[in-house]
Structures are given as structure tokens and as C-alpha cells.
Symmetry: none
Subunit: 382 residues, 4 copies
């Protein structure tokens, strides 16, 4: 049995996302299933070392999962040659510095998005990683959600014919906190604390669109600050001055128009919190996070405009659920497995630090477009 053991320094996994998605549902789940099985006699085995600043939290986390190794000394960990991968899920403002250290120590890099607070820093990480010759990747988990995988499969199989346009709707009503607790942290709604839906969501739309519909070449974005006052975790009203809705349109290298709305101020009249409606010459699809439904050209009804009478056609009934074509793994775990194979087996892995920088770039351009009230080209990052 050929066992590739890969030591992973996991920094910042005491947070909610780091613990649940990366540690428990990805790395520990991979260990539980016996590693990443490459062939009948070859597996990849991840060996985590938890790093953090709060000793109490780290110890508790490590013990809760059967006594994992942990340390508060990042430098020492980076100096330890047993660990060849550095993973970072810290808050964004701590990421650049730590990743640089890890690159300098010759570690392969895998980290959460956004990789930096601006695209120039994000690109610097990419340049350093390339110069150091190490392997690197960024978390772009949504691509492995069942709904998006179904959509990718439809695209690849030619279901749509030529894709004409895409309409993405993301959002829901985030309570203001005046009469009920809000479902999101208050810093999201304060500019000074790095809040805003453009910076939060356009990073996602970049890799979603790039991977499904081709590189984004142009964009326009209108931000809005709909709710001007909210109430924070301590019950105090505060000025909510960041953008809480963004109406963006992208044009990709293939000429596909992708309109993506993001809003924390909309009541949901959809089946899922995020849905993309894709229209193509041969068929259309509406894909959510997990489900997708399709209408092929021969099933398209002959709609005729006649507002005089109630609609004679029940349009929603003309769509058919796309069944699961496989068992879908956790999206984070799926990408982790690909990254581990990339490290161990040198398989290709296109979700690099450069892709991460592109996401940050798109958010920056979105804010600029909003301010300048015009379309912008998306230049290639150098």
C-alpha cells in the first residue's frame, strides 16, 4: 500500500467555517473514510496540525476530535518539515502576512478567499508562490455544490446549445435587528469594518462565472445602501453605511451576458437562496445550490402576449427537475481532495492564487464601476 502522508498546518480553524467545513467535514472526514483513495493500493493521508492564537480554544477543539496535534507557535510549525502544506482560514486581514511566511518556508499553500484585502496584495501572493515553485490553491467551494455541478454537466454535455444569457439571483431578507436578532454579524453592514455585499459576493461571482461561462471581460455594478440603520449584537442601533445590495452585469469572453443580483434586502420568491437562470438556444435551466430544473427547446411553450385573459399556460409546470446524477460529497471536501491529489500526484488544479486575485479584482472593479457610473473592462492581472 502506497500511502502519501501529507502534513497540513491548519491556521485559523477555531472559527465556525474553519472548524465545521475545513477540519470536520473535510480533513477529518477524509481520514474517517481512510484517506483519499487514488487506486486499490495508493491513498493520500492528511495529517493536520492545528494552529491558532487562543490556547484554550485550540486545546478544546483538538480534544473534541480525538486528540489532534496543535500549537500556538506558527513559526515552529513552518520550520517543521513534516508539514508540507499550509492552510489559512484566518480573518482576511491576517492572511497575507501568514501566507508569505509559509511560502518563504517552502510550504504548499491552500487558503480561504478572499486571499487579501486588495488585488495587488492578492497578486503578490501569487507571484511569490510561483517564484518559490510551490503548489497553491484557493477555496472556491461553490463550484462543487450539487446545483452548480449539475449545471456544469449540462454545459459540458451541450444541453444549452449556444448559451445566450444568465440571470443570477442571490439574497434574502436579513433582519435589521430592530425587532428580532439579525442573522448576520453587524460588521457586514459597516464600511469601516470591511462590510458590504460587493466585496463579499463579487469574489464568488468571479469564479462561478469564469468556470461556467468563460472569463469575465466587462462589468457594470450598481451598489445600494437600502437599510440605513440596523441594530447590532448588543442591541444598539448603528449606522449601516455599507452596500447591502448589488446589481451587477458581466459580459464574458464568450459574449454571454451574466446579470448577478446580490441582496440582503429582498424577500425570497425562489426555491433556493441562490439561483441562476441560464437561457440557451437548445434549452434553459434554473439551477440553485442543490437542485436544478430544465426546459429543453421541444418543451418550450408557445407563449403569446395577451394581458386580457388570465395566463392560459402554467409556465412553471413546463420545467423538469434534473435528478441527482451521482452522490454529491461536501463541496469543501471535494475541493480538498482535488488539492491533495494536486500536491501528491501533481494532477492539475486550476483554482490557484491567481484565480483568488481575480475575485478580489472583480470586487474592486465593481466598486469603481458603481462610483464612475459606467462599464469597465476587466484587465488581465499581471
Amino acid at each position: 500500500m502506497n500511502k502519501h502522508t501529507i502534513g497540513i498546518i491548519m491556521n485559523g480553524v477555531t472559527g465556525r467555517m474553519g472548524t465545521n467545513q475545513h477540519l470536520v467535514r473535510s480533513i477529518l472526514a477524509i481520514r474517517k473514510q481512510g484517506g483519499v483513495k487514488v487506486s486499490d493500493n495508493e491513498t493520500i493521508w492528511p495529517e493536520p496540525l492545528l494552529i491558532g492564537r487562543n490556547e484554550n480554544k485550540l486545546r478544546a477543539l483538538a480534544e473534541a476530535h480525538g486528540g489532534l496535534k496543535w500549537s500556538t507557535d506558527l513559526a515552529a510549525a513552518l520550520a517543521n518539515s513534516e508539514y508540507t502544506v499550509y492552510f489559512d482560514a484566518q480573518t482576511t486581514n491576517r492572511r497575507v502576512e501568514a501566507v508569505k511566511q509559509a511560502i518563504a518556508a517552502g510550504k504548499h499553500i491552500y487558503c480561504e478567499k478572499p486571499t487579501a484585502e486588495n488585488s495587488s496584495d492578492a497578486m503578490e501572493l501569487h507571484r511569490l508562490a510561483e517564484a518559490a515553485g510551490i503548489k497553491h490553491g484557493v477555496v472556491q467551494d461553490k463550484l462543487w455544490l450539487p446545483g452548480l455541478m449539475k449545471l456544469k454537466r449540462m454545459i459540458d454535455s451541450g444541453f444549452f446549445g449556444e448559451i445566450l444569457s444568465v440571470r443570477g439571483e442571490f439574497g434574502y431578507w436579513v433582519f435589521t435587528g430592530h425587532h428580532e436578532p439579525a442573522q448576520r454579524p453587524s460588521w457586514n453592514y459597516r464600511k469601516a469594518d470591511g462590510g458590504g455585499i460587493i466585496i463579499d459576493m463579487l469574489c464568488h461571482w468571479r469564479y462561478v462565472v469564469d468556470n461556467l461561462f468563460g472569463e469575465i471581460k466587462q462589468l457594470t455594478c450598481l451598489g445600494a445602501n437600502h437599510m440605513k440603520q440596523r441594530v447590532d449584537e448588543q442591541g444598539k442601533a448603528y449606522d449601516a453605511d455599507s452596500d447591502d445590495a448589488a446589481y451587477a452585469t458581466f459580459v464574458t469572453e464568450r459574449g454571454i451576458i451574466c446579470q448577478f443580483n446580490s441582496s440582503w434586502c429582498t424577500r425570497v420568491n425562489r426555491d433556493e437562496l441562490f439561483e441562476m437562470h441560464v437561457d440557451g438556444t437548445l434549452g434553459s435551466a434554473v439551477c440553485g445550490l442543490r437542485n436544478a430544473k430544465v426546459q429543453a427547446a421541444p418543451a418550450t411553450p408557445r407563449a403569446v402576449w395577451n394581458p386580457d385573459i388570465p395566463s392560459p399556460i402554467a409556465y412553471r409546470d413546463g420545467w423538469l427537475e434534473a435528478p441527482d446524477y451521482m452522490e454529491f460529497d461536501n463541496a469543501f471536501k471535494a475541493q480538498w481532495e482535488l488539492f491533495l491529489r494536486h500536491v501528491a500526484l501533481d494532477e492539475p488544479f486550476r483554482w490557484s492564487l491567481k484565480e483568488a486575485a481575480k475575485g478580489v479584482q472583480l470586487a474592486e472593479l465593481g466598486l469603481q464601476s458603481w462610483q464612475e457610473r459606467r462599464w469597465l473592462d476587466v484587465p488581465e492581472l499581471k
Copy 2:
């Protein structure tokens, strides 16, 4: 019994829209119900004179409805003082000339939209009408559709609290004609023949938005020519070079963001061919042409982002149908009755030739915004 008889020269009613909506379902329906009842002893009685160029068609139409008066001599009709109203439902390129003659003859004017092929001509009609001191109006029928009336009532009654944003979706899949007959005339898809969805639909969005959400002050518009080849009524393929989808966003004087998509290249995943989703602080609504549904703030679910699991909430079930609050008349007839009351009783009528010009203006600005790739201000028409 006080009976206001109003003679109406109806020009261009042999076309589908003119015959069905204006003659049969409006003027003749008003006669059938005994005129427009103003009070127990006062009515308005419309007396139509059909005008057209094709004698055969005219005679057939007149006879089919019990022997209406008709003539091919517009000049003579305009000279006849028994007729005080001129109505025009000809093709757009014939309208300006005929309306000018009617104004010169001192007739009150009521006509179909667009009133001219450009806003400068449209405004000239308005200026001439004002100078002549006659009454005038333009057809803006959508305002009297049940769905839009329900929406207007919700707005007026304060249901929404502060309105934040509106998302309008119009469109359906118009067959290209390659494998089936198309549902729309081919000239719609040829630039040279005045085709294009921007010129067709932005006139509508202007009055819909102005009347419901406040005057449009800024816009951006992205046109698209998704389907480049179509097949015409004779079965011949032709270059479809006009815009067949338009992605427009308006900002109104009240700061409401109104995103209106129009497309002949989308498969319908809605209940009706046109729907507006309106989000307000106290409630939201989705209004179509005839139906509307609402979700008040207390019924808004606590949505939490968790793509790991199937959505635990059936979001669509959280909406309630807004029942009919009255019996709705035909939209065209409803506006006709208001215009006749305007003529006979001097009641106010805000849908004037100036409003018509505003619609044309918005379409022009839409095309300009598309070309210049930027937001435009909407100047006041002078």
C-alpha cells in the same frame, strides 16, 4: 337625461389591436353598456367614424358590427364638426402627420404609443396640441391591468413601507421560425424596419415606473442581439439584427432602483409573462399582469445561508395571493372612459402627449446608454 355625445374619428382600427381593443372591447363595449354613466341622469355616448385606407376592410369591419359609419377620406372627416375627437392607431410612421392634421382641425387627440419615431417629433405633437388648446392623451393601457392596479393599491395604502427596489421581468421565448412559425412579426427583428425590443418596451417601462415608483431620473441599458438569424412569415431566413433583449436599470426620483429585463429569448420560469418583484421595508409583492402575491414583514422567514443542506424553508409557500378587490374592466376600455370623461366633463387626465414623448425619450436614451456603456441622466423634456 343629459347625454354627452362625442363623435370620434377612429383612424387605423382595421389592424388587430385597433379592432379588438379600441373598437370592439372599448368603444363598442361602452355603447353596449349604455355609454359611460356619469350619474343617474348623465351619460357620455361615443359615436365612432371608422377611417382607413383599405375600403374593403373598412366596409367589412363596419358591417360586422352593425353598420358603423366609415370613410376613406380623412380630410373630410376632420372637416366634419360632428366629430370632436381624433383617435390614431395607425403604424407609427404614419402617426405624426395625421395627428398634426387633426390638431390643425381643432380635434381632441387620443392615440396609440409610440406617438412618434423620435422624442423630438413626439414633443412637437405635444407643443402643437397645447398651442391649439385641445385635449390630448396617449394609450398607456398597462396601468389598468388588474395586476398593476393591485400593485398601485398596495403602494397607495402603505403596504410596502419604504419601497427599496423593483425587479421587473418581461419576456418569453419567441420562436425563430426555423422549425415552427414565430409568434411575432419578423419586422420586430430587423433594425431597418424599426424593430428592436428597446424601442418597443422602454416606452412601456417609462409610464409604468413613472406612475408607480416616481419619475425616472437615471438609466443604464444593455441591449443584446441574441438570435442572429430568424425565419420570416414567408419561410425565408433573414438577418435578425435588432436587439432582442434589453437589460435596463432605472433610478427614480424617490431613489428606488428598478431593474427591468425584457427578452424575446428567455424561457419563462414565472407565473405570468411580465412580473415585478417589489421589496419594501414592511412587505414585498410579486405582481404580474393579472395576479399579485404578497409577503408582509411578519411572515418573512428567517433565511440562513447553509448550502450544505437542502433548503429547510419552502420560500414560495410564504406568499399569499392578493385577491381581486373589485371587478376589473378591460384595460383599454378603462382608459377610454377616463379620456371621454376628460373631454366631456373636463376631469383631469394625466396621460398626455407629453407623457407619450417621455416614453420615446427613454427608449432613445436606452439605445444611447447601450452604445456609450454608461449611466445617463434623464433630462426634462422641454
Copy 3:
């Protein structure tokens, strides 16, 4: 870590309500969750001392919950400066005396309702507490039930517009015991033992109405003694001479008419044992103990009176469930936490011994109104 430890003398917690709601689901539950968390480094920690008259019961209760401290010597407990709060859940007739001792000993007071058998005694407790400068409160748990919290949120958020009227229905069929065991103790149905639904329920309606719809200013109340004979716990028939239904109407300072029926002699045709139907200009709601449903004005059907035909409208379908907008804690525990914060942090706490006296007052006035067959004003308690 700043830890406010608060010693609480809990008198009368061997009864069903005292054990279940106050000890287990409130104080012990707070301890289980690590205390009342005020901030990341500040908590409030309750330290109970169980007091009672039956040593066996006390010991058993204390042991059943991990060895709590207990004593039958109230005087000694009151003399112990480690305990700063006195809680009383004894039967009503023992409460006044014990609370007076506790006030004299300088303890803060928290107790079950009714605080006394008449409003004059209840007010005396309030006066003594104020004179002693201690903090005090009364249990008004219903206010923290999910259904009432949902209603409060609707009111605060402006959902109703102007509230016009409220119809509260409380009650269920309490078996007489002739052919089956009754679900309530027999003393409830004997005047001499302090029974009667008016004295039991009007205390509740006082704080429910005061807190939601404004102070009650006028009332009328009709009591009834529907079932004149019942069978007690020993299987013996007895004269059930107390009121077992009360039909009361209140008018609040805001002019809202609140009709509250309470009955132990009604078969339930509701979703919950207590429901309030609230009608406002912009919307209505039906709120129970846990659930609530709403109908906003735009969803209000156009009902037309026509008994000739079956109802063409399914009225019940025109209501939408108000979803949980947060996770609701046990109602008793929620109020306990607020009282502990009041004691430790001096946060406001409006449910004082004066509020308790108001409840007793309303019950007294209810009985008087019934006897005098007229409306009464509700004077301010001095």
C-alpha cells in the same frame, strides 16, 4: 472573567410550577448553559438555596438535581448575606407574609403572581419594596411566549397600522370529574378556597393587554357559573360555586377594544388554547401561545354577504403563518435572565410589584363589574 454570583432563596419550589418552570427550566438551565452571558468576559451566575416546609420533599428535590443546597429555616436563610434575592412560589395565601420578611431583610424580591389576595395587600408589598430601596419583580411569563413575542414584534414594526380591536379567547373543556378525572384541581371551582376563573385569569390579561395594547382604562366583566356540580380528587361530588367562565371587555388608553373570554366550559375550535385576533387598519393577526398567522391588507378578500350560496371564498386560506424569527427560550427562563441582569447590572425591568398589584386590581374590578352590571373605570393605584 467577571462573574456576578447571585444567591437566590427559592421558597416554594417543591410545587409543580416551582420545580419545573422556575428551578429546572430556569435557574438550573441557566447554570447548565454557563450562566447568563453578558459579554465575552462577564457572566451572571445564580446560586440557589431551596426553602420549604416539607423536609423530605426538599431533600429529594435537591438530590435529584445534583445536590443543591436546601433548608426549612427561612429566617436563617434571610439572615444569610450570601443570598441577595428572595423568590416566592408558595401558595398565594402565604406569600404576603414571607415577602414582607424578605423585604425587611433587605433582599431583592422576585415572585409568582398573584402577589396577594387583594390589591391593597399587593400595593403594600410594592410600597414596602420601594421604601426599602430593593429591586423587585413579578412573574409575567406569558409575555415571553413565542406567540406573544411575535405579536409584540408585529406591533412594534408597524404591521397593523392603527390597531382597532382585539378578541382574546382562552379556555377549554375541563372535565367535571363525573365520568373521568378532571384536569384541574377542585379548589379552582370552590369560592371558599379562592377558586374562580376571574381571579385566575384577569391578572394575566392585565399585563398582556397593558404591555401589548396600552394600559387598561375601562372594563366590563360578566362572570358565569356554568357547571354547578363537579367531582373532586377523591371522587366526591361537590358544589362548584365559583365562576368558571368570564366574558370581559377592556378599553385601553389607546382606545383599543379588547374582548377577552376565559372559559373552562368550552370545546376548543382553535389551533391553540389561547388565541388573540387583532384587527388593524393595515393588517390582522391571529396569535396563539406559540404560533401566529397574518393577513395584510392587500391579501384581504372582498367578502360579500350572500347566504344564498356556499361561501365562494375559503377565508382561512387567506392567512399566512408568521415564521419563527429567532429561537425562543423558555418563557420563565427568559424573564429570569432579565431579572438577574436587573439585579446585577441595574438594567431596567418594568415588571415590578406595582405591575403585580395592577393584575390583582383588575380581577377585583372584574368581580365588581359583574355584580354591579356596569362598566367601571380602572383607577390608578396609589
Copy 4:
């Protein structure tokens, strides 16, 4: 074949109620079925003579139903001995005078309610009728509605055991007219025009309660004027100063407490626009206009108060629909047949002009109780 032909002077049947219910669905329907069949060889045959003031309307109505006899000359009709019954469905303010003339002419009297604008006039009609020795009756149609007949049957059959209490809920949301046409005429909401829900509904509650639960002996009534402004048929806002809700409680000679709410300002959370909930020792029922459901004692669930948990019992499921036990005729026609039998065959008919006066009396006492804020006894009319 013994055929009792009864000539009926029908005054005021050009109104909506008179035409539809009394002429078409009652008298003409009786003629269509071959008269009121008394036995195999005996029928009663009504022969109507339509009386009114508007010749055009009368002629049109008469012709529309196959050429009925009509006249505008009431005096002549009353002088015609072929007609032995006088029926009055005019507006209330014309009724007393006309009925007096008819009594003086020796006609039997049948008329709509209220028979007069005050109980003293109403009683005078009764005295005159008695003095003249003629037969007389008043329309109390609700008693023959399917739902009320089912309830009467339950009462008579002993289903309830001893009836304890009744809760009647009548009402629905009458649009104010601000944003939609109202469903009721504006005079209903103006005091000066005889509007108000107390005067409208308490007449009904009198005969409903008297017939089902025993004579009303005491009452209290609280009126309310919830909506202070409405918009009339001409679109003009007006002061709506009459009572639009009434919260009344009656106690009957049998000691049954009957709480009857009437409101034009409530959103319906019932199956029908009027429902009575009747609780008795052996069972309960909820009866509407057409349907009724029951819960017998053995089916009564053991409800236990526990707001800590969601209701473990689906209370509404514990009721069973009472099926139609016969085919129900139109309620107006059913009473007409009884009156015709009373005239022709001298069968008893308890719904006399005295009963009519009682209804007016109850409305008067309701208004008085509201003003004096107290319970009133209901004296016997002399």
C-alpha cells in the same frame, strides 16, 4: 283540486332584495313549482300584483318575468278585493304609512324588517293589525338558512344537553373605498342617513336568539366607530360617524349567555361570514349560515395547559361536519310558504309584527346600553 288563490300586492319589489329574493326566488319560484302543495289535491297559488313608483322599472320587471300585473296606484290596488295580502319591501321610512293603509283596507300583512324606524311605531303596526283581526308576519329569513336549521335540529333533539353559552361572530372587512370600491353603500356609515351596525344587526340577533335560545331578557352592548373616514360611491371622502362594530352580550330567559359580535372592520378567520359557537353539557357545535360542525362530549379531547410545548392536539380536527339532513329551500321562499299556509289554512305563524317590533326594540336598547355603559333589562313590549 282545491286551489287557494291568494292575490298579493307586492310593494317595493324593484329593489335588489325585493326582486331577487321575494319576487323571483320566492313567489315566482312557488308558481313555477305549481304552487304550495298542501296535499295531493290541495294547493295554494300566489297571484302577485307589482306596485311601485317608477313606471319604467315596474314595466321592465313585469315583462322580464312573463308579463306580471303591475300598477303605480297603491290605493286602487288596496281597494281591489282580489288581493288579500299586502307585502312591503320598500325602504324603511315608507313602510309604516303604507302598512297602515293596507291594514285599514283589511289586507293581511307580510313585510320586510325593520318594520319601522322605532319600536313604538313598530308596536303600533302590531296593535292596528291585531285590532283589525288580520293576519300578519315579518321576514326573518335567517331562521331558514341551512346552518341555522341544522342548529335548531340539534337543539330540539337534545344534542347539547344543557346549553351554557353561545358566541356569535358576524362580520368581515368592508373596504373603506380609499383604494378600492367599497362592498356596502356609504349611507351605512353615516349616522344622519340611518347607518350603523347596531340598528342593522341587532334586529337579526333578536329573532335568531329568541327562536333558538329563548327570549332575550338582558343585554349590554358596546358600539365602536373604528374607521372614521371612508370614500363614497362618487369617490368622495366623507366622515364615517356611525358605529361599524358592536360587541353585544345577551342573557336569555333560560340563562344562556349569548355574546354576539358584529363588525365591518375585521378580517375573517372563520369558514363563514357568520358563525355561532354553542357550548352545552353534552356537546358543542359551530354553526354557520350553511354548514355546521359538532363535537360530542365523548369526542372532547383532554386539553392540558402547557405553553412550553407546541400544542399536542390538533383541536380543529376534533370536530365533525353535520351533513345536510334534507334539501334546503331558499330561506325567503321557505318562510313565504309558511305565511301563505297561515293565510290559507290558518296554520300557526309565530313571526308576527310583534316579533318585528322586538327586533327594533333590541337595537334601541343596544344604543342606550352603549351610551349608559351598563346592562339593561329588556322589558316586555306592550
